[in-house]
Amino acid sequence: MSDKEEREIQRFMELDSNKLTKGKERELAIQIEEDIMNQNEVLADQINQEFKKYNIKSIDIVGAIGAGKTAIIEKILEKLASKYRILVICGDVTTRVDANRIEKHNAESIQINTGRECALNAYHINQIIKNKDLNNYDLIIIENVGNLICPSDFILGTDKRVTIVSITEGEWVIEKHPMLFKMSDVAVINKIDLAEILETDVDKMINDAKKINPNIQVITTSAKTGKNIDKLIEIFGLEN
């Protein structure tokens, strides 16, 4: 099988459509998928050890497009940028919009454009940290590509994973996307300032998250009003 064919198979995998392959190709596709996953986990583990070695706290923030990931990070930076040396890594398919927003808050930011990939993976993060002097940071926040599905395949080696959903995504958003909540430490229900207008059943959302993952911490926030941002910072184990 040529290199190009192998890569094509990898593409099917990324699309989670190995059903598109058959026979020998399918075997190879499954093998490659396993290799990729193992490779990601090995790298994530290395990254986590690096962070620990340098005493860096690390958070991976995932959630749908527009849930308020960047807005919440901005709010956190307003409170923490003077106390912690923070690096924010922003993942998006294209553009530098988010990194530009972050830089306004006196934090260093690095944009990753993933092109055709729908999530960051450990390789991306490793490429950054091996080119940085980690002595210069106390806290690394990673904003993943806006997506409630793909990031569940790729852990990044952070201490905590946080999934953010928002009131505007509808009260079914959590029960429809259980995978990410299963593997997250914290679930944030953002845009709580809109709950009343949209008549959203917030209790249902909270219960759904806890049903999916009894160990998850759930918090409602508003990046607009600043509600519960302090509490979120506390949940992250950071000092206000």
Binding site: D3, R7, A99, I110, I112, G115
Partner: protein, 143 residues
């Protein structure tokens, strides 16, 4: 940044003797002090993966599934093949890089072409045209 790149370009043009260690120091300094952000407005091709800082000159052609960064500069009219990965590297103008080549900590002089596929090449200056890895005129950095 332009000035430092120009100095490297001139040092590379000196055919008698190329001072690789001087060039290497200049490159690392450039990455450390002047490279920042994404400057990728005018390339031709699919949506690649960029890990900033990345600088692309005018009409750079990028193949499928290219990964660039961190610390990559590509000069105008250069062509980068499918699945290529470049990290900590400077590619000057009019360069051609074959498919699935992986360059790390390298400088490729202008008008060079790597007309072959696959290898991982690290820590060196590449000058001229080559149809195989053995053909390649490489000057290694002492690391």
């Amino acid at each position: 940044m332009k000035e430092k790149l120009e100095i490297i370009r001139e040092l590379l043009a000196n055919n008698q003797e190329i001072d690789a260690s001087k060039i290497h120091i200049l490159m690392l300094d450039l990455f450390k002090t002047q490279f920042k952000g994404l400057h990728v407005e005018n390339y031709i091709g699919d949506y690649p993966t960029f890990i900033e800082p990345v600088y692309l000159g005018d009409k750079v052609k990028l193949g499928d599934d290219v990964l660039l960064g961190p610390n990559v500069y590509i000069g105008k009219n250069s062509e980068i093949g499918d699945y290529v990965q470049l990290t900590n590297s400077i590619i000057f103008d009019n360069v051609k890089i074959g498919a699935n080549i992986n360059l790390e900590n390298c400088i490729v002089a202008k008008d060079s072409s790597l007309n072959f596929n696959n290898p991982n090449i690290k820590n060196c200056i590449i000058i001229g045209k080559a149809d195989s890895e053995e053909d390649l005129k490489k000057i290694s950095f002492s690391i």
